[in-house]
Subunit: 338 residues, 2 copies
DNA sequence: GTGAAAGCGCTAACAC
DNA sequence: GTGTTAGCGCTTTCAC
């Protein structure tokens, strides 16, 4: 390994001079700087980032904690963070929290050990108190997809209620009157807000949503299938189905066709997230676009900014709005057709 | 920040003793150890990993370079690496190479700066010479999804030829005689090997594959659609379609239905990779399972092992075989049905 | 069993 | 402009 000493020796200068040259120091003589640069190139010298971090206490390292990278949603999130990190010349440390409080905590701790100045956290399980404490200890901590009023300016989140309302309104405008909803068994967080949005819109339109028309299941394809089967078994009549997310929506479409129902002719289905899968199913899924990647990049820049405590943080929150993506899984209500 | 000195002071011992306690040192007195441990817990002391890395020259850090995390395939790869890293108590540094030689190189360099002892590299663009040089400099470098004879024992790869043969044979056994293939315009690497496998199997079965029945396009859904449209426009007759990957296969299914052809009744379609999307489309896609996540975990352990130059590396390569996953997009050939 | 001390590679005063 | 020097927090001999 070639160190700053080696460079200094070969170039016939002191290590301080080499250090200055590296830091674009304009306080070094022309000729000298050129010589040092040449030696650096020849020797292939690369500063040791550990030594640098140790003394300067600034690591230019950013950490991200998500449940599981193999889930396309989190892959996109990670990709957005990576982009933000790269653009700011930060290194990216990554940790899966595996949907567990304990490993979530471990993941965060390990990032802290590594002196991450900025951390992007997608936390589903830690309680508010823990998060608040953490936020207090780490200025560069930003929460993504979670809103906590006490640290509103550290939250980058999506307006799930508005998104769900938009989806519901769209269906209402298409003439639908008979709704069913499939949602996650875990009603804290996103699922709860989306359901709330659905309820609000329906109520405003004077439409009734029976409790029996809301089916809970796991938030994946299988869950979507099962939920629809349950709905059908109960004899619920519906022409419009709102799914908690794309995966459930796709499972629903499978189950609907298996039951001899056509999408969108008999039943319109709408998803949420706009993952790649939504373009893979047939019919292509109409859904609410969740700009995760963009939000993640944004959160990254915010985290880096906040980690510099010398600048006063803005006192505002960071709210994104989902957009409707019209594809082929929604049609006008059968009864309203010519 | 609480340092080892703080702990030593509070516990009334020297920093050396604290260090020993941390390292499970059994060379510390019972009472003393207990006291130090208590202080560590009380103060919430966590060793500074930079300082540690600096002196011990062992960072326990692993880097991974993939084109883009938002692609489900690479998300899975990253997830596998994360698992391997976590199990070995390694930290994970991540870099996107964005499908460009230059950023691929930058990504690798940045990992080196950070003293990664082990690196998992999914390289599509760097040439063999560059890779060889790199492998030479970094003992813990492992190539995933690329085979280079000169460093065979550093390669974790998939037998694409065998996979393609298996897929083709399966179709042949189902009575198909008229084949078409849609593949990537980039024929270096995986696409070339898969096409080779297809050709071998067909030839062995005495079946002819006209050049016109091979259509090249981009390796995504749109590419799959376009390729099938081109095939259809040319008037190619086929009952079996082999797609380079799942995405192309799904695009193909869309195009086939759009043209009034049913899958699998009129045309059987087979994919490759077994991404989540393959379970999202209708009919569900029969495909070759690519065990990326498993391979990535394996590669990670291998890289960590290789990075320890004190142990002699095994002189063998690491080859994985894809597995056929039967779902609903393949049926017996129409002409062979009762 | 425990402490003192050297030093990992680097940055940042502080001299000259 | 350039060099000297004091650490950053830690591990690791080497004494005692």
């Amino acid at each position: 390994m070639v160190t700053i000493k080696d460079v200094a020796k070969v170039a016939g200068v002191s290590i301080a001079t080499v250090s200055r040259v590296i830091h674009d120091g304009h306080q070094v003589g022309e000729a000298c700087r050129a010589r040092v640069k040449k030696v650096i190139a020849e020797l292939g010298y690369r500063p040791n980032s550990n030594a640098r971090a140790l003394v300067s206490k600034t690591t230019n390292t950013l950490g991200v904690v998500t449940p599981k990278l193999s889930m396309p949603f989190f892959g996109s999130l990670a990709s957005g963070v990576e982009k933000g990190a790269r653009e700011n010349n930060y290194k990216l440390l990554m940790s899966n929290s595996l949907y567990e409080t304990k490993s979530e905590q471990e993941a965060i701790d390990s990032l802290r050990d590594h002196n991450c100045q900025a951390i992007i956290l997608h936390s589903e399980y830690s309680d508010e108190k823990t998060l608040l404490k953490l936020a207090n200890e780490i200025p560069g901590l930003v929460l993504i997809n979670r809103y906590m009023p006490a640290i509103a300016n550290r939250c980058v989140w999506l307006d799930n209620v508005a998104g769900a309302r938009q989806a519901t309104d769209y269906l209402i405008n298409r003439g639908h009157k008979n709704f069913a909803v499939i949602t996650s068994i875990y009603q804290n967080g996103d699922p709860g807000f989306r359901l709330q949005g659905i309820r609000e819109s329906l109520k405003l339109a004077g439409l009734h949503l029976a409790e029996a028309a809301i089916e809970e299941s796991t938030a994946n394809m299988e869950g979507g299938e099962q939920a629809v089967q349950a709905l059908l078994n109960k004899g619920i009549q519906f022409t419009a189905l709102l799914a908690y997310n794309d995966l459930m929506a796709i499972g629903a479409i499978h189950a609907l066709f298996a039951a001899g129902l056509r999408v969108p002719e008999d039943v319109s289905v709408i998803g949420f997230d706009d993952l790649i899968v939504s373009r893979a199913c047939r019919p292509r899924l109409t859904t609410m676009h969740y700009p995760v990647e963009e939000m993640a990049s944004y959160a990254t820049k915010l985290a880096i900014q906040l980690s510099d405590t010398s600048i006063e943080p803005e006192n505002r929150t960071h709210l994104f709005i989902p957009q409707l993506v019209e594809r082929d899984s929604v049609a006008d209500a059968p009864e309203s057709r010519g």
